[in-house]
């Protein structure tokens, strides 16, 4: 008994004190955000980074539900959307917007998203799991469908647009350039990420985890599972609304697309891909997904197919997502055995990667052969130009794919064996 008391006591002490080790990731991340525009100076890169930052906030707010609260939502885009719509309306409200510095604007989006979450959460958080998922789907579809009907607020099919530069200049900055918007977004990114992280450390945030894992037991401890879920839901709506406000500032237009199921689904994809089990998971997911979306979609029409396949594979084989895969390597690192894994990794994962690339190449040729305009049989793939009527590329890609698969398959047992060894503490450390 004394032991546990002692432990709790030291936990509390460690939790309350602000140590350098705890602040370090945040400081590094902030410095990173400051430096990024100097590394990637082109306008398109800054646009991508803006999109990334907005997606990160949105994904983190989504993970407050899915990862920390155990609530699977199919309608989270709605809270971001309405926040964004409100911000555009404020931008168009000249008398008020003229007295408002632009950086403050996302707060209004957040409050509006929170207001909607208050209403919806009052009945949707009664249960988690399937019922919650269904309600969120219904409410999401309802509001998305309303956007065509309630033209005053949602602007019908063409949406509504505004102009961010009419706001009160903020220390002389009028936000005419992308880079200025980038720093505004980055500021809000750090602020909201910190806010969400601190929320997860509050007693309510901790109880959300407990309710996720075992609602019955949490109820026996005297906590209302419903209220705990409700608080998480409302907080999540607030941060989603902030993401919506930033979206409004960045793109200056919002349409029905910001509310519909496709957007809600893609944020689920982003979050799960990154990993729901860790706070930084959605951050990785948002970065990877935005890169895939922007870079891969320039290379191939089929990017959505690859992302879909990646998503299904993640759910089936790595339910922890990318963050889960990364964190799996902590025990070998602690044991000082990470170096053991390098060789088997190369021997297995390199052929696997080649196999995947070759399969993708094969699919590309197939797609081109099926859907290219008649007479257009030339295609460029992996810096090679050839005709899809030529059997050689088909055979080559097929053979490479099969060869890679065979090699990866052959070396896989060795990897598994080394993995077990690297995770075993033999005590004989060099």
């Amino acid at each position: 008994m004394t032991d546990t008391t002692h432990n709790t006591h030291s936990d509390v002490l460690a939790g309350s004190g602000l140590t350098l080790a705890k602040a370090l990731p945040w400081l590094i991340a902030s410095a990173f955000l400051l430096v990024m525009p100097f590394v990637f100076t082109s306008n398109s890169a800054i646009t991508i980074m803006n999109q990334m930052a907005i997606t990160i906030i949105f994904a983190l707010s989504y993970n407050m539900l899915l990862g920390q609260g155990g609530m699977l939502s199919f309608g989270h885009a709605v809270y971001m959307g309405v926040g964004g719509f409100l911000c555009v309306h404020i931008m168009n409200w000249d008398q008020f917007f003229g007295t408002l510095p632009l950086p403050v604007l996302p707060i209004f989006g957040g409050l509006f998203g929170m207001g909607l979450a208050l209403i919806v959460g009052s009945f949707s958080t009664r249960r988690a799991g399937t019922v919650f998922a269904m309600i969120s789907l219904g409410v999401g579809e309802l509001i998305a469908a309303c956007s065509v009907i309630i033209v005053v607020f949602f602007g019908g099919e063409e949406g509504i647009s505004g102009d961010r530069t009419y706001g009160l200049p903020f220390f002389g900055i009028e936000f005419l350039q992308q880079i200025e918007v980038y720093y505004l977004t980055a500021f809000w990114l750090v602020l909201s990420a910190l806010g969400m992280f601190l929320f997860s450390r509050t007693p309510v945030g901790r109880m959300a985890n407990a309710v996720r894992d075992n609602p019955e037991r949490a109820e026996f401890l005297g906590y209302s599972a419903r209220w705990v879920r409700f608080y998480s839901f409302v907080a999540s709506g607030f941060f989603a609304g902030i993401a919506g406000g930033l979206f409004a500032i960045n793109y200056e237009i919002l349409t029905e697309e910001n509310l519909n199921l496709a957007t809600s689904g893609s944020i689920l994809l982003v979050t799960f891909l990154g990993g729901v089990g860790f706070f930084f998971g959605p951050v990785i997911g948002a970065i990877v997904f935005t890169l895939l979306q922007t870079v891969l979609s320039l290379q191939t029409e089929l990017w959505a197919l690859y992302v879909g396949a990646l998503f299904v594979a993640t759910v089936m084989f790595f339910p922890g997502g990318l963050a889960g895969v990364l964190m799996m390597h902590t025990p070998p690192l602690v044991l000082g055995k990470l170096h053991l894994l390098v060789k088997p990794y190369i021997k297995t994962l390199l052929p696997a990667a080649i196999c995947i690339l070759a399969t993708a190449g094969f699919i590309e040729i197939l797609f081109h052969a099926r859907h290219a305009a008649i007479g257009d049989d030339q295609m460029t793939l992996f810096w090679m130009t050839f005709s899809h009527a030529n059997p050689v590329p088909w055979i080559a890609f097929g053979a490479v794919a099969l060869g890679g698969f065979w090699l990866a398959r052959r070396n896989a047992p060795e990897l598994v064996e080394t993995w077990h060894e690297a995770n075993t503490d033999t005590g004989a450390r060099p």
């Binding site: 789907l137 579809e141 396949a309």
Partner: protein
């Protein structure tokens, strides 16, 4: 009055089509506790397969073979996908089927492209069956009604009167006990999943020619099917039937009768603001029932979930 009868038939067609999808979905849910988000995708696959087969072998072979193929694919998904994800819990299962729905849509676009397919009703079923006061009822609609009724009759018979049906029903409530009695419950699960998706496939085959076969057809119907089984009560077959018919008739009547909010509001005693386009309430005044026909099911679902969270015929703890 004649128009009412025509709309009743139209609504019945929509409702029965919905039921063909929701029956499989609700069976799968009550057995495995997983909501199959990709259910409507199997419906889409049914339409596409039937189209592809109908090019070579005609419509009737498509009707016969396509659902079988869809059912086999569905069983494969259960065996090699869902069963693996099952160990992680229900939420990952739902996410898995959601990802599957995305993937199937992409694969369909990959194979057949983004355009609508020229999948048409067979010549023998073209034309009118009969007419009610000048409104003709197409023969194909009558065919759809009879086919769906036939299938439900068969399903009901299998579930209630045969040995297989008894085992399925028992496995629904007490899977552990049924397993202890020597039945292969995972096989039963796989079979039910296959049959459920095959039913969705049948719905796709017969709906493809009238509702058009295109890559978005799963999304169009997908969420409505969920709404249906939530309204009917998760896991209740009878509830799914009632909810399907309610939704079918509700949307059909809302579209057929142009009820205007303006008339209702003036009837209550409000005066219409003039000019209307300056008023903040313009959307409310210009609202008509065909406009909101498509969101009525969602509205109904939200109301049901607020006032009767377990649905019309669901069990209290569902």
């Amino acid at each position: 009055m004649d128009l009412v009868l025509v709309n009743l038939i139209d609504g019945l067609v929509t409702g029965l089509l919905l039921f063909m999808l929701s029956a499989g979905l609700t069976l799968i849910f009550s057995m495995m506790g997983v909501l199959n988000f990709a259910h409507a995708s199997f419906y889409m696959l049914g339409a596409y397969f039937a189209y592809q087969i109908s090019i070579f072998l005609g419509f009737w072979m498509g009707l016969l073979i396509a659902p079988l193929v869809v059912g086999v694919i569905g069983a494969g998904v259960e065996r090699y996908g869902l069963r693996r994800v099952h160990q992680y819990g229900h939420v990952p299962e739902l996410i898995f089927t959601f990802g599957l729905a995305l993937l199937i849509e992409e694969v369909v676009q990959f194979i057949w492209g983004k355009d609508q397919m020229p999948y048409e009703i067979p010549g023998i079923l073209e034309g009118a069956a009969f007419a009610i006061a000048g409104n003709t009822i197409p023969l194909y609609k009558v065919f759809m009604i009879f086919l769906s009724l036939l299938i439900f009759g068969g399903l009901l018979y299998v579930l209630t009167k045969t040995r297989v049906g008894m085992i399925i029903q028992a496995a629904l409530s007490y899977p552990k006990t049924v397993e202890a009695l020597g039945h292969n419950v995972p096989l039963v699960f796989m079979g039910v999943f296959g049959v459920g998706t095959a039913l969705a496939g049948v719905a796709g085959v017969i709906a493809g020619p009238v509702l058009s076969t295109f890559p978005g057809m799963a999304v169009v119907l997908g969420s409505i099917v969920f709404v249906t089984i939530v309204i009917g009560g998760l896991g209740s077959l009878f509830g799914a039937l009632v909810a399907s018919l309610i939704i079918g008739w509700l949307t059909t009547f809302a579209k057929a009768y142009d009820v205007r909010m303006e008339d209702i509001l003036t009837g209550i005693g409000f005066t219409k603001p003039d000019p209307i386009w300056d008023s903040a309430w313009q959307d409310l005044w210009t609202l008509t029932s065909p406009q909101i026909a498509d969101i009525l099911p969602y509205l109904l679902m939200v109301l049901i979930l607020i006032f009767r969270p377990y649905g019309l015929f669901g069990k209290r703890d569902a």
